[in-house]
């Protein structure tokens, strides 16, 4: 199976991941506390996506279909 789309997806997720890290560090303590549930949800979703694209393309496709 063509690896390139998954490779691109990993790169996109990478920008989201590091962008999120940068965003968190720009927040004041008060803003961070206020946004904590949202940030946690986004982080969890990102971790789940990262987990999915970490596997070879064929496995990823079947896992996405299973979900």
């Amino acid at each position: 199976m063509d690896e390139r789309p998954i490779h691109r997806l990993r790169n996109e997720l990478n920008v989201i991941s590091v962008g999120l890290i940068a965003l968190k560090r720009r927040l004041t303590a008060e803003q961070a506390q206020e946004m904590q549930p949202t940030l946690e949800r986004v982080s969890l979703a990102l971790a789940r996506c990262a987990d999915l694209v970490a596997t070879p393309p064929a496995d990823t496709q079947s896992r996405i279909e299973q979900d």
């Binding site: 690896e3 691109r8 990993r10 790169n11 997720l13 990478n14 991941s17 560090r25 720009r26 303590a29």
Partner: protein, 438 residues
């Protein structure tokens, strides 16, 4: 202004910009190099403490870049790539790159890389042979341990919390040992498990796809010297069996080979476990623990080192004065706060707080305050905190605080009294009263 340098060799400019933003906030300067054409001349002419390198670039590959660089002048080189191709990964870690990290880059991994970059930069600034600072009895004991064990050739296990200076102890042991080989430091938690065997023991040509030449592992690189294995409990159990065998036979077998190669390497390992729980580290095989733990050196947490905290803060400020040609000193008004803070990140946390305070201070006085975490974590009770609920009596709160602080200081009533701002007699009285209530 001097600062550690991070070179980002990646054509994704958004990634580069976000990464630069994060690095900049912890005082690391960045250089974005989106192509081989830009990366090769810049890296050939400048020092980078950390180079984060993508595998695929618009005009070539990260592997090509490595072939064209004078690697000795560069610090850590880490591949950060979206490729999942096993052959590329094996080729990457067969080079002098220290690590291969798959995209997306995780927050804990990035923090570790930035921390390592700062540590290496500070080590680079520190003159060789810098002694372990501290006048406390705990540090006297550490120095005595080093002097006693260094010439013996015994393997050593260093136990201590994060940031207490375990790598400095390993370096001091190596320096005082008289061994002529190198000190090679390896963080077992940072090596991918599946590649650890090849990295430690080396591999033969053709051991796997992409192994085009024989590769000397860390054991061979440290021949005649010392191999420092940090976070030993993170080493996969199967590899611990191999390590045990190497310690017993003093011979290694390279991956893909059959020949036993004799190695003369002294092992200094480190764990974050405390002395009381050393033998119960679930990550460390008991037989390996007994083999390594014949001589254990315990690094004291900063909170148990009394006034060493001021000595260290002064030393950091002196180093910063030399670096920035300044003439600043510790603000006397912050001494109480510095002494009472628990410093869970130990000397590393103090160093970071001092550096930050130095850079933000306008005048001659450096007001060191513990760093605030941007992300406010939900309150969780642990060994260094107590959670009070509405409805508890003041007596219950006082007792809980007293017992937790006492446990935190390992039963040291003097340190507990200092931390709580009361006399030792008060501690004794409170404990007696508490026992009476119980």
């Amino acid at each position: 202004m001097q600062a550690p340098v991070l070179a980002i060799v990646d054509d994704d400019r958004d990634f580069g910009a976000c990464l630069a933003d994060v690095a900049d906030r912890v005082g690391i300067r960045t250089r974005l190099l989106p192509s081989l054409a830009e990366a090769v001349p810049w890296l050939a002419g400048n020092d980078a403490d950390l180079t984060m390198l993508d595998m695929t670039l618009p005009d070539g590959t990260g592997l090509e870049l490595l072939e064209r660089l004078p690697l000795k002048r560069h610090g850590q080189i880490v591949f950060v790539s979206g490729t999942n191709d096993a052959e590329s990964i094996r080729r990457a870690v067969s080079t002098t790159a220290t690590e291969f990290i798959s995209k997306p880059l995780r927050e804990d991994v990035l923090e570790r890389l930035l921390q390592t970059t700062q540590d290496r930069y500070r080590q680079r600034l520190q003159p060789p042979g810098t002694p372990l600072l501290g006048l406390s009895p705990a540090m006297d004991a550490v120095r005595a341990d080093i002097a006693r064990v260094a010439p013996t050739g015994l393997n050593v296990l260093i136990a201590g919390e994060t940031g207490t200076g375990k790598e400095l102890v390993a370096a001091a042991i190596h320096q005082a040992s008289g061994r002529r080989g190198r000190l090679v430091s390896v963080n077992c938690g940072a090596l991918p498990a599946e590649l650890m065997a090849s990295q430690l023991f080396g591999h033969e040509r053709g051991a796997f796809t992409g192994a085009n030449a024989r590769h000397a592992g860390f054991f061979e690189q440290a021949a005649g010297g010392t191999l420092f294995l940090d976070e030993i409990g993170e080493m996969p159990p199967a590899l611990q069996v191999f390590l045990l065998r190497v310690l017993e036979t003093r011979r290694i077998v390279r991956v893909g080979g059959t020949e036993e190669v004799p190695v003369d390497v002294r092992i200094v390992a480190a764990t974050q476990r405390g002395m009381q729980t050393l033998g119960t580290d679930p990550g460390l095989r008991p037989d390996l623990f007994y083999r390594l733990g014949r001589y254990v050196i315990e690094m004291p947490p900063l909170r148990a080192r009394g006034e060493d905290v001021f000595l260290l803060a002064d030393a950091f400020i002196d180093a910063l004065n030399r670096e920035h040609r300044g003439d600043k000193r510790l603000d006397p008004h912050c001494r109480t706060g510095v002494m009472h803070h628990a410093w869970p990140g130990n000397v590393r946390e103090l160093m970071a707080a001092t550096e930050r305070a130095y850079l933000v201070s306008d005048g001659d006085l450096v007001n060191v305050v513990p760093l605030l975490h941007t992300m406010a974590a939900p309150p969780v009770e642990d060994a260094s905190s107590v959670l009070f609920r509405v409805g508890m009596s003041l007596q219950e709160i006082q007792d809980a605080m007293l017992h937790r602080t006492l446990a935190f200081h390992g039963g040291d009533k003097t340190a507990t009294a200092r931390s709580l701002g009361v006399s030792v007699r008060t501690i004794h009285n409170q404990l007696a009263r508490s026992r009476g209530h119980g």
